[in-house]
Amino acid sequence: MIFGILEIFRNEPFLLFIITLGVACSIGGIPPIIERNRRRGIENDLPAMLEALSDSLGAGLGLQQAMMAEADRNTGTLGKLLRETLADAHSSSFDAALANFATKSRSSQVQRVMHLMSTAIEQDAPLQNILADMSRDYERLNDLMNRRESDLMGRSILIIMFVSIGLPFLIAFIVGLFAPREQGFQLESFNSSFTLFFGAASFVAISVSGRMLGRMRSALWWAPLWMAVSMSIYHVGVFVIGG
């Protein structure tokens, strides 16, 4: 039966192409996930860092000293980046080190904060208040982003599971049961239409669920794999259930 299942893929060059593309793209889809986890880790630590810097400035420390204290305290990615920044600050200016820190973080939140901090230092603005305000702002922003993620994650997984797995399995079951291949039903064009439909429906499902979570581009890396899964489930399902 396993050879029989493998044999049915031989006549489906498009499906084989999608499977190959899916495997290749899923490898491309891993770096965005790792990068996003790293970036969100930094962004979630950012409000606490700003608050600590504001407190230290209020206690009379300079910005560089406050950052040193924070780098010692923070054991996450942000702390590591801060330590590197302060090491760089010995060989270059503090302003250049801040810019370097923003670039290395690859986070728009950190880049904006560093830009504002540099501007505030240049303009001799009350840094303690600015840092405290920014800490509040970014804490609220991160809370909203985390809430969106946690509330919509389940729904987006539900969409993918139902459209890419549940639906092709259900239709394969109906077709296999009512029009089994072994009884001589001619369903080539029917199967080809439905196979393409499941591929396209999976693409729509991945796009929608990715957009719901606010990361459609990185979700699309996984689209070919889910399309291949969905199309294969239908093909194999019809073959197995239809005898």
């Binding site: 904006r112 504002l116 303009q123 600015i130 459209v163 009512f178 439909f197």
Partner: protein, 190 residues
């Protein structure tokens, strides 16, 4: 797309203007700082505005032109505040702070609304995405299933039925995409 970009960036622009102007920078210099980049579409708008000012056009006229171009309420309000500052010398910092607070509240509300509105999307998507193909699959195999019932229902052409099924599948797909579009159009722009 423009409105989404505006709503995403405007709060950061307000905060930056607040810091810059609160520490004594003038309005034109603050606009110049934002025009250097980092604030998406608003940086581009401010960059065009600065280009025109450097050509000798008055700031007031440029701000009025930008006001017409702006799509979101928040961005329009910011430009209006700038315009009032230029024409009537109003306290821009205080107004910007209040606007920032209001905008933050409305952003929180719009995220909550977004999450609530998307609550029904999976169910609707799955209803259309499942009912359509189930009906169409039964319709597609009907001519072969009911070969012996031609006297009762008349002859059924498999080719014609398949054309109907294909159109139905495309419409189902379109319906799914249209429902999914809600996730894009209602995005609060975080």
């Amino acid at each position: 797309m423009r409105s989404l970009d505006e709503s995403r960036e405007v709060l950061y622009v307000i905060r930056t203007l607040d810091v810059l102007m609160g520490s004594g920078v003038g309005l034109e210099a603050a606009i110049h700082s934002i025009s250097q980049g980092g604030y998406g579409i608003i940086s581009k708008d401010f960059s065009n505005l600065m280009e025109n000012i450097n050509k000798g056009k008055p700031l007031e006229r440029e701000l009025r032109a930008l006001l017409k171009k702006a799509e979101t309420d928040g961005y329009k309000r910011v430009i209006n505040t700038m315009l009032n500052n230029v024409t009537q010398n109003t306290d821009i910092i205080e107004t910007l702070r209040k606007q920032g607070e209001r905008m933050e509240e409305s952003r929180t509300e719009s995220v909550k609304e977004y999450i609530e509105e998307l609550g029904g999307v999976p169910e609707t998507l799955l209803s259309i995405g499942m009912i359509g193909p189930i009906i169409l699959s039964i319709l597609g195999i009907a001519p072969q299933l009911m070969e012996d019932a031609e006297e009762l229902f008349g002859p059924m052409d498999q080719g014609m039925i398949m054309s109907i099924v294909n159109v139905g599948l495309m419409l189902t797909l379109l319906g799914m995409a249209m429902i999914g579009l809600k996730a894009h159009t209602k995005d609060p722009g975080l």
